[in-house]
Subunit: 350 residues, 2 copies
């Protein structure tokens, strides 16, 4: 283990116990969560609730947003916080899984692995993934198998076969057509308001509802509102208005939500198809993990349930899961699972 | 006439002749053009070519982009340049028409009129419009009647009745669904490439064509390329690739262009309908001015021609015009026309 740049952040280790632990980290664009768990037996069923030693939270750790150095500093600090809170030290760590948004290429993965290697002792097993992988693992309790559909401000479908092949669909952002996302739904609703106003589209309840929510008096003020701040999350925050109009029977809002269901289902189907998760006859069982605000139940219009219906018609073996633990826990379980598999393989080779 | 802030920019006036002139200005987000014309007889036909005394060019004059002060300074300077080049002075100006992008509300119009009034002597007639109005006037040679369709990076349809009512459709930018625009066409093409790549859409020639143009090796690199620079014009610059794929028979590219034609035609129809430009039985004659890169002819796929076909089916009186003079000339003709009408009205009242 080399000396790390910010030596002082690890000073607490002098007081640490020797209990063996695992670290799981979920790093997104808004926040980063690190979980410290004791080493547990991975035999099913897992203890419920899972024993967690500590949870630490930090800001953005996406290197595309804050730059390489700031991202690394945030990641190192939040891991140190979690270990410090749990009274453990780096030498007590058995495995670490970092699931960070912005990790899209093997080169991103390798860069992060290189500096992680400098922080931890040699015996620690290290894993780096895209944050969608932690979302899958929090539904499958650490198994890297099946498909996860994430739909919040953005959307992505990500899947793994049991032999380690992966595939993704969507996740390319609003310009490149992630229409099923929260941003996509809200942008289509705003467009529908403009179209109704200038005579290109039917009247819709969305007009009064959205203008009231944004405290605007006329649809042409939406142009200024939209371009004053290009944040996708600010626009995606209008999804509840679309859902409530749809629930009140507005046809335009209903069409937008039905289209969103189709788009989201199409992303899942693309991943399932490419990986052959459903087997040759289309009936094999596989986990379908559903994560994110857009997929959560509303009083009547439940986008997640509609997506599942759509998928189940085609793939009878799709097994829908709404995770009960957070993605950082998924990352920790994945770290432990992967490390156990590697240990077994190494024992076999010896 | 009050002293203007930048007194020195008008120093040339001491040398000016007394010949009466008109100023027409077309101010956009990329550049601003000011034309100085001698006073001519507005009886038809107009002289061809039109007598122009001077043409001056400056940068952006959209107050939303550069701020109020910088916009005002640019506008004043480019008018001074045009007058100086033509050897005229402010007291020789009969009428000025400023057609500037970003003028959307009567309050924008009034603010600009207020400071214009400080620059010119009291007898000068002043007119302020949105830049789409200059585009209409350059097709109608100064008549404020009919509908203009502009489709470049963005798109807008704008129309006027002979008694001065106006209406617009689209022009709300890409987030708010201007899908027929150059940006809209190109963004849909990029989306089609991503969808083909991740298994959500059919194979398309657009993939190899666009990757070659952008010097990228894989569709997933498009994500980085797209978000590295959010300029709409940079994305809209891919329209020729879509047209060439469509001309080579690619079905995906053809569908994108057909959809664009529908969207553009829908904007025109909304304006024509709201203003009743086609008369009660739908057969009245009205000018339909077509402006912008997207509407220009290509070897086989002519988007502008297809839009005209579509509109003419519904409104047999639509009279398509592809302007031969630039919008600043349209603004000058409009200034002269409006000022003649006002003079007549005043003479009648006296």
């Amino acid at each position: 283990m080399k000396r790390c740049r910010n030596g002082e952040i690890w000073d607490f280790e002098a007081m640490a116990t020797g209990r063996e632990v695992i670290l799981g980290l979920d790093g997104g664009t808004t926040s980063t969560v690190c979980i410290c768990m004791p080493v547990i037996s991975m035999s099913q069923p897992l203890p419920d609730p899972l024993p967690l030693l500590a949870r630490a939270v930090a800001g953005c750790s996406n290197h595309n947003s804050v730059g390489e150095d700031a991202a690394r500093e945030t990641l190192e600090q939040v891991m140190a916080d979690a270990l410090s809170k749990s009274g453990s030290s780096r030498s007590a760590v058995r495995a670490v899984c970092l699931a960070v948004s912005g990790v899209n290429h093997p080169t991103d993965q390798q860069r992060i692995l290189n500096w992680l290697r400098d922080i931890f002792p040699r015996h620690v097993r290290l894993y780096v993934h895209n944050d969608a992988v932690a979302a899958l693992a929090c539904g499958t309790m650490g198994q890297l198998h099946g498909c996860v559909l994430i739909a919040g401000t953005g959307t992505i479908a990500y899947g793994f076969t049991e032999d380690g092949r992966d595939a993704r669909a969507a996740g390319a952002g609003p310009i490149l057509g992630d229409w099923g996302s929260g941003y996509g739904i809200a942008a289509q609703a705003l467009t529908a308001v403009i179209r109704a106003y200038d005579g290109r589209g039917p009247h819709t309840m969305l007009t009064s509802n959205i203008l009231r929510t944004l405290d605007l008096s006329s649809p042409d003020e939406l142009i200024g509102w939209t371009y004053a701040d290009p944040s996708w999350a600010r626009i995606a925050a209008l999804v509840p208005e679309v859902v409530s109009c749809a629930e009140a029977g507005d046809e335009v809002a209903n069409r937008i939500l039905r289209d969103s269901v189709q788009e989201l289902a199409l992303s899942v189907k693309a991943v399932v198809q490419r990986l052959g998760l459903c087997g040759e006859d289309g009936t094999d069982s596989f986990p379908l993990v559903m994560v994110g605000g857009v997929l959560e139940a509303n009083s009547r219009w439940d986008i997640g349930k509609e997506v599942i219906k759509y998928i189940s018609k085609e793939y009878s073996g799709a097994f829908p899961i709404r995770p009960k633990v957070e993605p950082a826990v998924g990352a920790a379980l994945l770290a432990w699972n992967s490390s156990m598999k590697e240990s077994k393989k190494e024992a076999y080779i010896r």
